[in-house]
Symmetry: C2
Subunit: 269 residues, 2 copies
């Protein structure tokens, strides 16, 4: 069995050193305690509610920053970790990025391609879809927050063979009827079910410059049901066999991908 953990951290905006220490501590603690796959929030290094492009720039780090080396060094065993951070690219442009790594180093990089609202003031969108990266626990695609709300994008990752879509996120709280889950979780559930792919969304917690966060961390099974949400300690945990979802036959005569009518609407890949 593979243990997936999401840890709903509360980064502090602009406090790079403190946020980095929090990330290192969480990686060390959770992977030592048995997390095989750990997902951390979007922009875990920098916080989210920037006042200006200059402030965003001050806490962005290059993709080869030594901090990321310290993250990989903090991984216990063969666990893999996904963490969001504010990236200052080689071109000096800022990206809302995430990195997938294990103790040996970085396995994959991704830059958010669908930017939400004021992010467009600070970040450039990425130009590549997420790689689908083989790990000892299954194939992982990384998306960030609003990316998840484009069903073409989740479908594309599933067609590329993803067993798990890992989603670092910062979900600003939006209105919802009493008793309902966050709308982003509904979207994750549908994406999971129509593709038979697990989805692990790691939100952040707290309030930042007046912005309340949803604290909606949820791990969704490949059937679309909620497998885990954040407990009182901010951690969601689910033990599963990700490869079990590779069979896309959902009835004697139905295959989720084979049933697509690509003659009527094309294919995202």
């Amino acid at each position: 069995m593979t243990r997936i953990v999401c840890e709903q951290l509360a980064p502090q905006v602009g406090r790079l050193a403190e946020n980095h220490r929090q990330i290192v501590r969480t990686i060390s603690e959770t992977t030592t305690a048995g997390a095989d796959i750990l997902v951390l929030p979007e922009l875990a290094t920098s916080g989210y509610v920037f006042e200006s492009p200059a402030e965003a720039r001050e806490c962005a780090i290059p993709p080869d920053d030594p901090m990321i080396d310290e993250w990989t060094a903090a991984v216990d065993g063969d666990s893999v970790v996904v963490c969001g951070y504010a990236e200052r690219g080689p071109d000096d442009v800022l990206y809302n990025s995430a990195v997938l790594f294990d103790a040996t180093g970085v396995l994959a990089r991704y830059r958010k391609t669908h930017l939400w609202d004021r992010e467009k003031l600070f970040f450039a969108p990425g130009s590549q879809p997420p790689p689908v990266t083989p790990t000892p626990f299954g194939r992982i695609a990384v998306m960030i927050c609003y990316d998840l709300e484009f069903p073409e994008y989740t479908r594309r990752a599933a067609l590329e063979g993803a067993d798990l879509i890992a989603v670092p996120t910062n979900w600003p709280e939006v209105p919802r009827p009493a008793g309902e889950r966050p709308p982003e979780v509904l979207i994750a559930q549908a994406a999971a079910r129509v593709n038979r792919v697990a989805v692990a969304c790691c939100d952040r917690s707290g309030t930042e410059r007046g912005q309340r966060w949803t604290e909606g961390t949820a791990i969704v099974s490949h059937d679309g049901w909620i497998a885990a949400v954040a407990e009182a300690d901010g951690r969601a945990r689910w033990d599963t066999d990700l490869a079990a979802a590779r069979d896309k036959n959902i009835s004697t005569r139905n295959h989720l991908f084979g049933d697509r009518r690509t003659d009527l609407y094309g294919s995202p890949r």
Copy 2:
């Protein structure tokens, strides 16, 4: 305001005349009582659980059958109705079809393109996506049951300008965790929210040859929330202004369709 009604009928397999009378009575009653848009189930004429292709053929009707004239004649005022039926096409091939009509006659026809399980033994798939049909109440796209589970297809209809996706359905009951909605409803909710389009799913009721139906009729608002489910009388009712959902801006800087990265995954139209 526009009143949308779904009436969760229980057709009897193979009993064409009785099912027809039930359809006529429902059209007359609901449109007289104020339904502007009425959605009826999939295969409302024929039932669903056929024992053989011959049985399906016996209760299929041609697209110009006088029964459909009686349906249009039963419509009160300027209401529009969507009803599923087993069609024997001009080519003598059977289709799982639906028709959109008002008192003046048929406005649009649709043949299900994604067939579920044993339907593949009885029906040929349609070759055309649903037309998006203007009505006095908004633009309506018709899909049938399993069609809804392909996000490319709902996206396509939304891009074509649909305000409402009307979904005649027969949902065989599938396992779900206690307290959860049917998975098909979750998928409808996500489709509604990522496209800002309302979705009206009319399920059937009862048990047919041992097959239990979900009785999951649900009207979903363009925000993805449940606007109505079937009441004790089998009817779901929602009063709304469908055109209000045409604005696809969801933040100062985000447009649901404009934000799509068609460079990364193409577009369904």
